[in-house]
Amino acid sequence: MSKILVIGEISDGKLNAGTAKVMAAATAIGGEVTIALLGADVAAAAEGASKLAGVSKVLKVERAENAHILAATFAPQIVELSKGYSHVLFPGTAFGKDIAPRVAAKLDVQQVSDIMAVHGASSFDRPTYAGNAILTVDAPAESTIVATVRLASFTAVAEGGSAAIEAASTSAVLPTHTRFVKLEAQKSERPDLQAANKVVSGGRALGSADAFKIIYSFADKLGAAVGASRAAVDSGYVPNDLQVGQTGKIIAPELYFAIGISGAIQHLAGIKDARTIVAINKDPEAPIFEIADYGLVGDLFSVVPEMESKV
């Protein structure tokens, strides 16, 4: 039977919503699941983790050095914790992508990046070429499987569990060669891009940070999160953490608006799992219309305010 260690992610002191999706992948693999949480004080996150369906145990790894997430200090602790487990799963977020390979290399195993489907305890689907070729891979079953989970491919497990919470300690000696300086977080009252049901994204066509306000305003009317194409981020209209795509965030909302976005394959890689895609573009030949469920040819500067007034 598989013994699975899920590395939980903590954001603002609480369990990140992605962990419940990693649990869904763990449940699909099947077996006994432990969630490990590393931090200086992980009490609130541990509470959250213990309630997720399917969790047998929550390990709190609290240590002053864990106040900031650093791959160089987290990885040796996770390597130590991983003893006896068949799988170590991370969320496919910046957090997981930073740390998981460092753990895999220490365990001398290849990592499975971005699991999107589980066929068995060691057989998984993963995307390559911006999601244009899906590989079904078999990991050597005799060694530990280290993987990241593509969150957009899984539905969060429900709450209702009541797993035991245990304190765990490690003897790993932590390097001091890497130091946290600061985090400039984009504080926003809007729904989180990766968890939102509805997302409104704007592209290069917006032309300026000021003009981007019509996207924010429409999103607020819908209660939607805001996203953007790379071109909009590179041009400085919006912060980098709003980028959707192959190298930005991969999302799976119920409703996605692509406004003034051409539909480059790298952008599409981030929205393949959106349930309904609406495209607004003044060019009837724009590639985004090839995959949109609803397309409207028009000037966004008149279409968006009109939509806002009518929804």
Binding site: F180, R230, V311
Partner: protein, 248 residues
């Protein structure tokens, strides 16, 4: 101060990928290849650091078959001083690549290693982190700003919450994100000059590296196709369609 930059030859980012009907892989015959875009960013950063006088030598490295020499010539045209070709045919998975790159980094006694955050063919996003683990060195992934000093490097990283800044003692491993810089266009004289720069071919054997056990690909399939939907003429039509589905 020596910088090592890894450059991978990949299918060009503009190519529409076709999966072979027998599920054995993707079509690469007659397809354009170029340097992985994130590695171009890594090269550009190294060259800018050299132009600022912070780096004295740039070494480009690749692992792969004979054709990867083109990619190294591109790196030399960017401004690498010399190139190392780890000549190995076949599928090189990240842990194996990382073992070879770590060995080259050690052999060259480099201080800074710049890699792309991800190769756009395998989309693995692993190699830099693995090199750092194998060498027990500091890492800063997804860099959007790099400030190099004599004994440390300060890196701003693109993380999910925003921008994080880390300070790393040298030697250190940095992987590049899109916003770090915009790679220059290569000029003909630089491309000509690159032909004469030193390029050394070595093997896994000479590095003392053996390929790590890999993941086996059972099959390659095309993703489910999204079909073209409907074109609506007016905002009213759009809004009522979305309302009918309970989406707005």
């Amino acid at each position: 101060m020596k910088a090592l930059v890894s450059v991978k030859r990949v299918v060009d980012y503009n190519v529409r990928i076709q999966v072979k009907p027998d599920g054995s892989g993707v079509v690469t015959d007659g397809v354009k290849f170029s340097m992985n875009p994130f590695d171009e960013i890594a090269m550009e950063e190294a060259v800018r650091l050299k132009e600022k006088g912070k780096i004295t030598e740039i070494i480009a490295v690749t692992i792969g078959g004979a054709k990867c020499e083109e990619t190294l010539r591109t790196a030399l045209a960017f401004g690498a001083d010399r190139a190392v070709h780890v000549k190995e045919e076949g599928d090189i998975q990240p842990l194996t690549a990382a073992k070879a790159l770590a060995a080259v980094f050690k052999k060259e006694g480099a201080n800074l290693f710049l890699l792309g955050k991800q190769a756009i063919d395998d989309d693995a996003n692993q190699t830099g982190q693995m090199v750092a683990a194998l060498l027990d060195l500091p890492q800063a992934t997804f860099a959007s700003k790099v400030e190099l000093e004599a004994a440390k490097v300060t890196v701003t990283r693109e993380v999910d919450a925003g921008l994080e800044t880390l300070e790393l003692d040298l030697p250190a491993i940095v992987t590049t994100d899109l916003r770090l810089n915009e790679p220059r266009y290569l000029k003909l004289p630089d491309i000509m000059k690159a032909k004469k720069k030193p390029l050394e071919a070595i093997s896994f054997e000479s590095l003392g590296v053996t390929a790590a056990a890999g993941l086996k690909t059972a099959k390659v399939s095309a993703p489910p196709k999204r079909s073209k939907g409907v074109m609506v003429k007016t905002v009213d039509e759009l809004v009522s369609a979305l309302k009918a589905k309970g989406l707005v």
